[in-house]
Symmetry: none
Subunit: 83 residues, 4 copies
DNA sequence: ACACAAAGTTCGCGTC
DNA sequence: GACGCGAACTTTGTGT
Protein backbone atom coordinates (compact mmCIF):
# COMPACT_ATOMS: atom_id res chain seq x y z
CA UNK A 1 0.00 0.00 0.00
CA UNK A 2 2.85 2.36 0.72
CA UNK A 3 4.28 1.75 -2.76
CA UNK A 4 1.89 4.15 -4.31
CA UNK A 5 2.09 6.67 -1.51
CA UNK A 6 3.53 10.13 -1.93
CA UNK A 7 7.25 10.32 -2.67
CA UNK A 8 7.46 12.70 0.30
CA UNK A 9 9.20 15.54 -1.40
CA UNK A 10 10.74 16.98 1.72
CA UNK A 11 10.74 20.57 0.62
CA UNK A 12 7.16 20.38 -0.55
CA UNK A 13 6.03 18.78 2.67
CA UNK A 14 7.84 21.39 4.70
CA UNK A 15 6.20 24.06 2.63
CA UNK A 16 2.75 22.72 3.38
CA UNK A 17 3.49 22.42 7.06
CA UNK A 18 4.84 25.94 7.20
CA UNK A 19 1.93 27.46 5.36
CA UNK A 20 -0.63 25.60 7.43
CA UNK A 21 1.07 26.57 10.68
CA UNK A 22 1.23 30.16 9.51
CA UNK A 23 -2.48 30.23 8.80
CA UNK A 24 -3.25 28.56 12.10
CA UNK A 25 -1.22 31.19 13.88
CA UNK A 26 -3.20 33.88 12.09
CA UNK A 27 -6.41 32.16 13.07
CA UNK A 28 -5.33 31.97 16.69
CA UNK A 29 -4.45 35.65 16.58
CA UNK A 30 -7.90 36.53 15.35
CA UNK A 31 -9.46 34.33 18.01
CA UNK A 32 -7.48 36.30 20.56
CA UNK A 33 -8.79 39.50 19.07
CA UNK A 34 -12.33 38.23 19.49
CA UNK A 35 -11.61 37.29 23.08
CA UNK A 36 -10.25 40.78 23.69
CA UNK A 37 -13.40 42.34 22.29
CA UNK A 38 -15.55 40.29 24.62
CA UNK A 39 -13.34 41.27 27.53
CA UNK A 40 -13.56 44.92 26.58
CA UNK A 41 -17.32 44.70 26.30
CA UNK A 42 -17.47 43.02 29.67
CA UNK A 43 -15.38 45.75 31.25
CA UNK A 44 -17.90 48.26 29.88
CA UNK A 45 -20.68 46.49 31.68
CA UNK A 46 -22.07 44.27 28.95
CA UNK A 47 -23.12 40.77 29.74
CA UNK A 48 -20.84 38.59 27.66
CA UNK A 49 -23.32 35.76 27.66
CA UNK A 50 -25.90 38.00 26.04
CA UNK A 51 -23.40 39.23 23.54
CA UNK A 52 -22.49 35.71 22.52
CA UNK A 53 -26.17 34.89 22.22
CA UNK A 54 -26.74 37.84 19.92
CA UNK A 55 -23.83 36.87 17.70
CA UNK A 56 -25.01 33.28 17.63
CA UNK A 57 -28.56 34.28 16.73
CA UNK A 58 -27.43 36.48 13.88
CA UNK A 59 -25.25 33.67 12.64
CA UNK A 60 -28.10 31.17 12.78
CA UNK A 61 -30.61 33.30 10.94
CA UNK A 62 -29.26 32.65 7.44
CA UNK A 63 -28.89 28.98 8.29
CA UNK A 64 -32.46 28.91 9.39
CA UNK A 65 -33.59 30.19 6.03
CA UNK A 66 -31.48 27.59 4.30
CA UNK A 67 -32.84 24.95 6.64
CA UNK A 68 -36.36 26.00 5.76
CA UNK A 69 -35.71 25.76 2.05
CA UNK A 70 -34.03 22.44 2.51
CA UNK A 71 -36.90 21.14 4.56
CA UNK A 72 -39.41 22.36 1.99
CA UNK A 73 -37.48 20.56 -0.69
CA UNK A 74 -37.41 17.48 1.44
CA UNK A 75 -41.15 17.55 2.02
CA UNK A 76 -41.84 18.09 -1.65
CA UNK A 77 -39.68 15.10 -2.29
CA UNK A 78 -41.59 13.17 0.33
CA UNK A 79 -44.88 13.99 -1.37
CA UNK A 80 -43.38 12.77 -4.60
CA UNK A 81 -42.53 9.51 -2.93
CA UNK A 82 -45.96 9.06 -1.43
CA UNK A 83 -48.03 10.33 -4.35
CA UNK B 1 -38.80 50.53 29.20
CA UNK B 2 -35.38 50.09 27.73
CA UNK B 3 -35.99 52.92 25.27
CA UNK B 4 -35.08 55.59 27.71
CA UNK B 5 -32.28 53.72 29.35
CA UNK B 6 -29.97 52.47 26.62
CA UNK B 7 -29.91 54.79 23.59
CA UNK B 8 -26.17 55.32 23.79
CA UNK B 9 -25.34 51.73 24.64
CA UNK B 10 -27.16 50.53 21.57
CA UNK B 11 -24.64 52.12 19.23
CA UNK B 12 -21.81 50.80 21.30
CA UNK B 13 -23.34 47.36 21.34
CA UNK B 14 -23.77 47.46 17.59
CA UNK B 15 -20.12 48.37 17.26
CA UNK B 16 -19.06 45.36 19.30
CA UNK B 17 -21.29 43.05 17.34
CA UNK B 18 -19.98 44.35 14.04
CA UNK B 19 -16.36 44.06 15.03
CA UNK B 20 -16.79 40.57 16.43
CA UNK B 21 -18.65 39.40 13.35
CA UNK B 22 -15.97 40.89 11.16
CA UNK B 23 -13.26 39.00 13.01
CA UNK B 24 -15.25 35.82 12.91
CA UNK B 25 -15.63 36.20 9.16
CA UNK B 26 -11.86 36.62 8.88
CA UNK B 27 -11.35 33.56 11.02
CA UNK B 28 -13.67 31.52 8.83
CA UNK B 29 -11.81 32.71 5.75
CA UNK B 30 -8.53 31.55 7.17
CA UNK B 31 -10.06 28.23 8.12
CA UNK B 32 -11.11 27.84 4.51
CA UNK B 33 -7.56 28.58 3.43
CA UNK B 34 -6.30 25.84 5.71
CA UNK B 35 -8.85 23.43 4.31
CA UNK B 36 -7.69 24.29 0.81
CA UNK B 37 -4.10 23.58 1.73
CA UNK B 38 -5.01 20.16 3.07
CA UNK B 39 -6.98 19.46 -0.10
CA UNK B 40 -4.05 20.50 -2.24
CA UNK B 41 -1.70 18.31 -0.23
CA UNK B 42 -4.11 15.42 -0.57
CA UNK B 43 -4.28 15.85 -4.32
CA UNK B 44 -0.49 15.60 -4.38
CA UNK B 45 -0.65 12.26 -2.62
CA UNK B 46 -0.08 13.23 1.00
CA UNK B 47 -2.00 11.52 3.78
CA UNK B 48 -4.09 14.28 5.26
CA UNK B 49 -4.79 12.45 8.49
CA UNK B 50 -1.10 12.00 9.15
CA UNK B 51 -0.42 15.55 8.10
CA UNK B 52 -2.88 16.77 10.71
CA UNK B 53 -1.18 14.61 13.30
CA UNK B 54 2.19 16.09 12.39
CA UNK B 55 0.88 19.63 12.80
CA UNK B 56 -0.71 18.70 16.11
CA UNK B 57 2.48 17.08 17.41
CA UNK B 58 4.56 20.11 16.54
CA UNK B 59 2.12 22.27 18.41
CA UNK B 60 2.48 20.50 21.74
CA UNK B 61 5.65 20.72 23.73
CA UNK B 62 8.04 17.75 23.56
CA UNK B 63 7.93 17.46 27.34
CA UNK B 64 4.20 17.19 27.46
CA UNK B 65 4.24 14.70 24.64
CA UNK B 66 6.73 12.45 26.39
CA UNK B 67 4.85 12.64 29.67
CA UNK B 68 1.62 11.68 27.97
CA UNK B 69 3.20 8.78 26.14
CA UNK B 70 4.89 7.53 29.28
CA UNK B 71 1.68 7.65 31.25
CA UNK B 72 -0.09 5.90 28.42
CA UNK B 73 2.50 3.15 28.47
CA UNK B 74 2.08 2.79 32.21
CA UNK B 75 -1.64 2.21 31.73
CA UNK B 76 -1.17 -0.14 28.80
CA UNK B 77 1.49 -2.06 30.67
CA UNK B 78 -0.77 -2.35 33.68
CA UNK B 79 -3.32 -3.95 31.40
CA UNK B 80 -0.76 -6.30 29.95
CA UNK B 81 -0.95 -4.67 26.54
CA UNK B 82 2.01 -4.52 24.25
CA UNK B 83 3.07 -0.89 24.25
CA UNK C 1 3.09 15.67 39.44
CA UNK C 2 3.01 11.93 38.99
CA UNK C 3 3.73 11.42 42.70
CA UNK C 4 0.15 12.03 43.58
CA UNK C 5 -1.22 10.14 40.62
CA UNK C 6 -3.21 6.97 40.94
CA UNK C 7 -1.44 3.95 42.33
CA UNK C 8 -2.73 2.10 39.27
CA UNK C 9 -4.40 -0.75 41.00
CA UNK C 10 -4.20 -3.13 38.11
CA UNK C 11 -7.37 -5.03 38.87
CA UNK C 12 -9.33 -1.87 39.40
CA UNK C 13 -8.07 -0.36 36.18
CA UNK C 14 -8.90 -3.51 34.28
CA UNK C 15 -12.35 -3.44 35.80
CA UNK C 16 -12.97 0.08 34.55
CA UNK C 17 -11.71 -0.76 31.10
CA UNK C 18 -13.85 -3.85 30.93
CA UNK C 19 -16.98 -2.11 32.09
CA UNK C 20 -16.47 0.81 29.71
CA UNK C 21 -15.80 -1.48 26.78
CA UNK C 22 -18.86 -3.49 27.67
CA UNK C 23 -21.04 -0.41 27.66
CA UNK C 24 -19.52 0.77 24.41
CA UNK C 25 -20.28 -2.59 22.87
CA UNK C 26 -23.88 -2.24 24.03
CA UNK C 27 -24.01 1.23 22.59
CA UNK C 28 -22.62 0.01 19.28
CA UNK C 29 -25.23 -2.74 19.25
CA UNK C 30 -28.00 -0.22 19.68
CA UNK C 31 -26.50 1.94 16.96
CA UNK C 32 -26.62 -1.08 14.70
CA UNK C 33 -30.25 -1.57 15.60
CA UNK C 34 -30.95 2.00 14.59
CA UNK C 35 -29.11 1.47 11.35
CA UNK C 36 -31.20 -1.60 10.67
CA UNK C 37 -34.38 0.34 11.26
CA UNK C 38 -33.32 2.95 8.74
CA UNK C 39 -32.44 0.22 6.27
CA UNK C 40 -35.79 -1.44 6.80
CA UNK C 41 -37.58 1.85 6.32
CA UNK C 42 -35.60 2.45 3.18
CA UNK C 43 -36.53 -0.97 1.82
CA UNK C 44 -40.17 -0.01 2.37
CA UNK C 45 -39.75 3.04 0.22
CA UNK C 46 -39.10 5.72 2.81
CA UNK C 47 -36.52 8.37 2.16
CA UNK C 48 -33.93 7.91 4.88
CA UNK C 49 -32.82 11.50 4.61
CA UNK C 50 -36.33 12.67 5.39
CA UNK C 51 -36.62 10.23 8.24
CA UNK C 52 -33.40 11.49 9.79
CA UNK C 53 -34.66 15.03 9.37
CA UNK C 54 -37.87 14.20 11.20
CA UNK C 55 -36.00 12.60 14.08
CA UNK C 56 -33.62 15.52 14.27
CA UNK C 57 -36.46 18.04 14.28
CA UNK C 58 -38.29 16.27 17.07
CA UNK C 59 -35.08 16.17 19.04
CA UNK C 60 -34.48 19.87 18.57
CA UNK C 61 -37.97 21.00 19.51
CA UNK C 62 -37.57 20.69 23.31
CA UNK C 63 -34.18 22.34 23.06
CA UNK C 64 -35.77 25.18 21.16
CA UNK C 65 -38.26 25.76 23.95
CA UNK C 66 -35.50 25.70 26.49
CA UNK C 67 -33.51 28.07 24.31
CA UNK C 68 -36.43 30.44 24.19
CA UNK C 69 -36.83 30.45 27.95
CA UNK C 70 -33.15 30.90 28.38
CA UNK C 71 -33.15 33.79 25.95
CA UNK C 72 -36.03 35.44 27.74
CA UNK C 73 -34.18 35.15 30.99
CA UNK C 74 -31.13 36.61 29.35
CA UNK C 75 -33.04 39.57 27.98
CA UNK C 76 -34.64 40.25 31.32
CA UNK C 77 -31.21 40.22 32.77
CA UNK C 78 -30.05 42.56 30.03
CA UNK C 79 -32.76 45.03 30.92
CA UNK C 80 -31.66 44.83 34.49
CA UNK C 81 -28.17 45.72 33.46
CA UNK C 82 -29.20 48.70 31.37
CA UNK C 83 -31.89 50.05 33.67
CA UNK D 1 -53.40 16.34 -1.08
CA UNK D 2 -51.40 13.83 0.86
CA UNK D 3 -54.51 12.77 2.76
CA UNK D 4 -55.55 10.37 0.13
CA UNK D 5 -52.15 9.11 -0.68
CA UNK D 6 -50.48 8.10 2.55
CA UNK D 7 -52.98 7.11 5.25
CA UNK D 8 -51.42 3.75 5.84
CA UNK D 9 -47.85 4.92 5.57
CA UNK D 10 -48.43 7.47 8.31
CA UNK D 11 -48.90 4.81 10.98
CA UNK D 12 -45.95 2.90 9.69
CA UNK D 13 -43.87 6.04 9.65
CA UNK D 14 -44.89 6.82 13.21
CA UNK D 15 -43.84 3.34 14.21
CA UNK D 16 -40.40 3.81 12.72
CA UNK D 17 -39.98 7.17 14.39
CA UNK D 18 -41.02 5.78 17.74
CA UNK D 19 -38.73 2.79 17.57
CA UNK D 20 -35.78 4.87 16.43
CA UNK D 21 -36.34 7.41 19.17
CA UNK D 22 -36.61 4.65 21.72
CA UNK D 23 -33.29 3.18 20.65
CA UNK D 24 -31.67 6.58 20.65
CA UNK D 25 -32.89 7.14 24.18
CA UNK D 26 -31.35 3.81 25.19
CA UNK D 27 -28.13 4.79 23.49
CA UNK D 28 -28.06 8.09 25.36
CA UNK D 29 -28.64 6.25 28.62
CA UNK D 30 -25.67 4.01 27.98
CA UNK D 31 -23.56 7.01 27.05
CA UNK D 32 -24.47 8.47 30.43
CA UNK D 33 -23.36 5.27 32.08
CA UNK D 34 -20.02 5.52 30.34
CA UNK D 35 -19.68 9.10 31.47
CA UNK D 36 -20.37 8.03 35.02
CA UNK D 37 -17.67 5.38 34.83
CA UNK D 38 -15.13 7.91 33.66
CA UNK D 39 -16.16 10.24 36.46
CA UNK D 40 -15.81 7.49 39.00
CA UNK D 41 -12.39 6.58 37.64
CA UNK D 42 -11.38 10.23 37.82
CA UNK D 43 -12.48 10.51 41.43
CA UNK D 44 -10.23 7.54 42.16
CA UNK D 45 -7.27 9.37 40.70
CA UNK D 46 -7.14 7.99 37.18
CA UNK D 47 -6.29 10.23 34.26
CA UNK D 48 -9.46 10.23 32.17
CA UNK D 49 -7.79 11.50 29.05
CA UNK D 50 -5.27 8.66 29.11
CA UNK D 51 -8.00 6.21 29.95
CA UNK D 52 -9.89 7.26 26.83
CA UNK D 53 -6.74 6.84 24.79
CA UNK D 54 -6.30 3.34 26.17
CA UNK D 55 -9.82 2.39 25.20
CA UNK D 56 -9.36 3.87 21.76
CA UNK D 57 -6.06 2.06 21.21
CA UNK D 58 -7.55 -1.28 22.19
CA UNK D 59 -10.34 -0.68 19.71
CA UNK D 60 -8.11 -0.32 16.66
CA UNK D 61 -6.20 -3.23 15.28
CA UNK D 62 -2.51 -3.50 16.16
CA UNK D 63 -1.64 -3.63 12.46
CA UNK D 64 -3.37 -0.38 11.71
CA UNK D 65 -1.81 1.21 14.71
CA UNK D 66 1.69 0.27 13.64
CA UNK D 67 1.12 1.40 10.09
CA UNK D 68 -0.11 4.75 11.24
CA UNK D 69 2.80 5.25 13.58
CA UNK D 70 5.30 4.26 10.94
CA UNK D 71 3.84 6.64 8.42
CA UNK D 72 3.82 9.34 11.04
CA UNK D 73 7.48 8.77 11.71
CA UNK D 74 8.22 8.96 8.00
CA UNK D 75 6.62 12.38 7.88
CA UNK D 76 8.29 13.59 11.05
CA UNK D 77 11.64 12.32 9.88
CA UNK D 78 11.19 14.06 6.54
CA UNK D 79 10.70 17.27 8.50
CA UNK D 80 13.77 16.62 10.60
CA UNK D 81 11.71 16.22 13.73
CA UNK D 82 12.74 13.90 16.48
CA UNK D 83 10.38 10.99 16.30
C1' DA E 1 -14.31 10.23 -3.23
C1' DC E 2 -17.81 13.42 -1.05
C1' DA E 3 -20.97 14.90 2.06
C1' DC E 4 -23.37 14.17 6.00
C1' DA E 5 -23.63 12.59 10.71
C1' DA E 6 -21.34 11.00 15.18
C1' DA E 7 -17.70 11.18 18.50
C1' DG E 8 -14.16 13.28 20.91
C1' DT E 9 -11.69 17.33 22.48
C1' DT E 10 -11.29 22.03 24.08
C1' DC E 11 -12.77 26.30 26.06
C1' DG E 12 -15.47 29.45 28.65
C1' DC E 13 -18.86 29.82 32.22
C1' DG E 14 -21.09 29.30 36.60
C1' DT E 15 -20.86 26.95 41.04
C1' DC E 16 -19.35 25.48 45.36
C1' DG F 1 -9.64 27.48 42.58
C1' DA F 2 -11.28 23.12 41.31
C1' DC F 3 -15.06 20.90 39.48
C1' DG F 4 -18.83 19.87 36.48
C1' DC F 5 -21.78 21.70 32.65
C1' DG F 6 -22.60 23.25 28.27
C1' DA F 7 -21.18 25.10 23.73
C1' DA F 8 -17.97 25.36 19.79
C1' DC F 9 -14.63 23.34 17.07
C1' DT F 10 -12.21 19.57 15.25
C1' DT F 11 -11.76 15.04 13.81
C1' DT F 12 -13.38 10.37 12.63
C1' DG F 13 -16.60 7.18 10.54
C1' DT F 14 -20.31 5.97 7.33
C1' DG F 15 -23.56 5.96 3.43
C1' DT F 16 -24.20 7.47 -1.19
Amino acid sequence: MSDVAAPIAVEQLRSFVDRIERLEADKAGIADGIKDLYSEAKSLGYDVKILRKVIALRKIKPNERRETEELLEVYLHALGELA
